[in-house]
C-alpha cells in the first residue's frame, strides 16, 4: 500500500492533469458539436503551440506564457481558415469520415514540418521557477503544474462565459443544436461555425503553452495525446462539453493513480480500456451524449 503522501500527490497531480485534458477535450467537443468533425490534428496543434512557446523562450528570451499573446489569436485565425477553406468544402454525406482523413493529413504535415524546422531532438523549457515546488501534507506539487492547471481553468472558464453569456455564444450553441433552425432565425451559421473552430483551436494554443512548461516535447509527441483525448470525448459522450470535462478529470485521476502500481507506460492503457468499455457497454457515452447516437 503506497504511503498517504504519495497517494495524495497522485490525486493532486491527476486532477491537475485532468484540467489540461478537460481544456483540450473541450476544443475537440466544440469541433464535433459544430460540424461532426473529429479533429485529429488538435493535438498536433497542441504540440505546435508548445514548440512556439519553447522557441519564444529559447530564441527571444521571453516567458513562455507571453507567447500566448501571439499564439491564441494566431490559432484562432488558423481555426477559422481551416474551417472555411478546407473542412466546409468536404461533401456533407461523408463529412465525418473525410474530415478525419483531412485533419489526419494536417497532423502529419505539422509533425513533418516541426521535425524539419526543429529536428527530432527532445526540447524542454528551462525556467527559473521550473523546479520550484511546495509541500502539502507530504505531497510535492510543482509550481509549473499549478500554473498549467490555472491556465486551463482560466481558459475553460472564459470559454464557459463566452458560450453562456454572450450573443455570440448563444448563436454558437444554436448552431450546434440545430443548424437549419439557427439559420431560420437569422444566424449566419457558416460564419459562426468558422469562429467556433477558431475557439477550439485557441484552446489548443493555451493547452500547448501549459504543456510546454513542464514537459519534454518532440514532434511525434502528439500521438501520445490524441489517443487519450479521443478516449475522453467518447467516454464523455461525443459533443457534450461537461461530459468531456468530467471524463477528463476522472481519467486523468485514474491514470495518475494507476501509475503507482503499474508504472507510467501501462497506466496509459486506462484510456483505451475506458474507450473500449464505453463502446461495448454504453456507446452513447456516460455523460450527456445526445449527439453520439446519430452516428
Amino acid at each position: 500500500m503506497p504511503s498517504g503522501g504519495l497517494l495524495l500527490q497522485s490525486i493532486i497531480l491527476g486532477l491537475l492533469l485532468g484540467g489540461l485534458y478537460a481544456l483540450l477535450a473541450a476544443g475537440l467537443t466544440l469541433y464535433f458539436g459544430i460540424m461532426r468533425v473529429v479533429m485529429i490534428a488538435h493535438s498536433a496543434f497542441l504540440i505546435l503551440a508548445a514548440y512556439l512557446a519553447w522557441w519564444s523562450n529559447e530564441r527571444l528570451g521571453v516567458d513562455p506564457l507571453l507567447s500566448l499573446l501571439v499564439t491564441v489569436p494566431l490559432f484562432f485565425g488558423a481555426g477559422v481558415l481551416l474551417q472555411r477553406m478546407l473542412l466546409s468544402r468536404l461533401r456533407a454525406a461523408t463529412l465525418t469520415m473525410m474530415s478525419v482523413l483531412l485533419t489526419f493529413a494536417i497532423a502529419l504535415i505539422i509533425e513533418g514540418l516541426l521535425g524539419y524546422a526543429f529536428s527530432g531532438t527532445q526540447r524542454r523549457i528551462q525556467l527559473g521557477y521550473g523546479s520550484a515546488s511546495f509541500g502539502l501534507f507530504g505531497a510535492r506539487i510543482a509550481v509549473v503544474k499549478l500554473i498549467a492547471f490555472g491556465l486551463a481553468v482560466l481558459a475553460l472558464g472564459s470559454l464557459y462565459l463566452l458560450m453562456k453569456r454572450t450573443s455570440f455564444g448563444w448563436a454558437l450553441r444554436a448552431t450546434i443544436q440545430h443548424q437549419d433552425a439557427a439559420r431560420l432565425v437569422g444566424i449566419d451559421t457558416e460564419r459562426i461555425a468558422g469562429f467556433g473552430f477558431g475557439l477550439g483551436l485557441a484552446t489548443a494554443a493555451v493547452g500547448g503553452t501549459a504543456l510546454s512548461l513542464d514537459t519534454t516535447i518532440y514532434p511525434s509527441l502528439h500521438w501520445h495525446w490524441i489517443g487519450p483525448l479521443m478516449a475522453i470525448i467518447v467516454v464523455g459522450g461525443l459533443g457534450s462539453v461537461p461530459g468531456a470535462a468530467a471524463a477528463a478529470m476522472l481519467l486523468g485521476l485514474g491514470q495518475s493513480l494507476l501509475q503507482i502500481p503499474m508504472g507510467t507506460t501501462w497506466a496509459q492503457t486506462v484510456f483505451y480500456v475506458a474507450l473500449f468499455a464505453t463502446l461495448a457497454f454504453r456507446p452513447q457515452g456516460f455523460f450527456g451524449g445526445r449527439l453520439a447516437q446519430r452516428f
Binding site: 468544402r89 461533401r91 461523408t94 489526419f104 504535415i109 513533418g112 457558416e190 478516449a231 456507446p283 452516428f295
Partner: protein, 365 residues
Amino acid sequence: MPNVSRRWFPLGAVAVLAAAILAFPSLAPNPYILSSGVVVLNYAVLATSWNFVGGFTGYISLGHGALAGLGGYATGLLVTKADLPSFVALIVAALLVAVLAVPLGLAALRVRGASFVIVSIALVLILLLVFQSWASLTGGSRGLVVPRPFPGLLRPEHHRVFFYLYAALLAIAVLTWWLLDRSRFGLGLKAIREDEDKAEALGTPTYAYKLIVFVLSAAFTALSGGLYALWFGDLDPVFQFSVLTGSYLVLMALLGGVRTLFGPLVGALIVGTALEYFKTEFGSTPLHLVATGVLLAVVVLVMPDGVLPAIAAGWRRLRPGEQSSIREMTAADLAEQRHRSRQDDRSGPQGDQPAAGETREEVRG
C-alpha cells in the same frame, strides 16, 4: 453490359496488369528494386484487404496497420516460441487475428462513423504500447527476429519467391472482393454504405454483416503482415504498429477508388512507388510525412472517389453514346445536392466552387 468493348476492356486490362506483375521480377534491374516491388505488392494486398471494410461499408479504418502488425508478430512468435513451420504459423496467425477481430469489431462497429475511426486509431496506439512494453515476449524495442522460411536461398531469390507469394495472395484477395461484390452479401454491405438506417429497415442484418466483413478483412490483412514478417525477418513495434501504415492504406484505396475492384491496387502502385521514392529522396528527414500529408489532403479534397472513377467518367464523357446504364443517386449525391441548393439559396458571395469529382454524377436513365 451494353456492348462488347466494355466487357472485354476490363478483362484485357486485368491480363496486362497480371502479366506486368508476373514479369516484374525478371525485369527488375537489381535486388533492391525487386525488394521495393515486394513492399509495393505488400501495400497492394493490405489496401485491397482494407477495402473489404472501407469500400463495401464505407467505414474508414486507420488501424489496419495494427492488424498487419499483429499478423506479423503472431507469425513471428509462433515460429520462434512455438516452433511451428513458417507457413503453418502464417495460417494460424491469420486465424488468431481473425478471432481477435471479433471482439474488436463488436466494440468498434456498434457505433458509426467518428467513433469507429477513433477506435481504429486507439487500436494502433494501444498495441504499440503493449508490444513495446511487453519486452519479455515481443523483444520490445530491440525487435523480434523471425527466421527465414527458406534458409538456403540467396537474397535475390528470396525476394523473388516472396514477390510471387504476394502476387498469389493479391490474386486471392482481389478475387474474393470481386465475388463479394457480386453477391447478395456484398449488396447488403453496399446498402450499409449508402444508408445504414434504410438498410436496417429493409431487413439487412447490418451489425452481423459489418462484423463478418471486418473479420474477413482482418484475416487478409494479417496474412499480408505475416508474410511480411517471414520476408523481412525483423519486426519492430514502432514500424509494425504505426498509424502511418494505416493512413498509407487509406490514401492508396481512396486515390485508386474505393468502389472499384482494382482501385486499391492501382493506388498502392502509385503511392507505394511514391513512398519508396520519397524514402530514397528525403532519406530520414521528416519531409516524407509532409509529402504523405499533402497527398492525402489533396486526394480527400479534390478526388475523394479516386482516379479510376475519374478516368472512367472522362472516358464516358468522350463517348456519350454509351451512357445507357442507370446510375442511381447515392445518399452522398443527394446530400451534396441538398447542400448545394442550400448554398445557392443563401446566394452569398462565398459559395464554394465544385471540386473536380463533383460535377460528374447526374441522374441518368
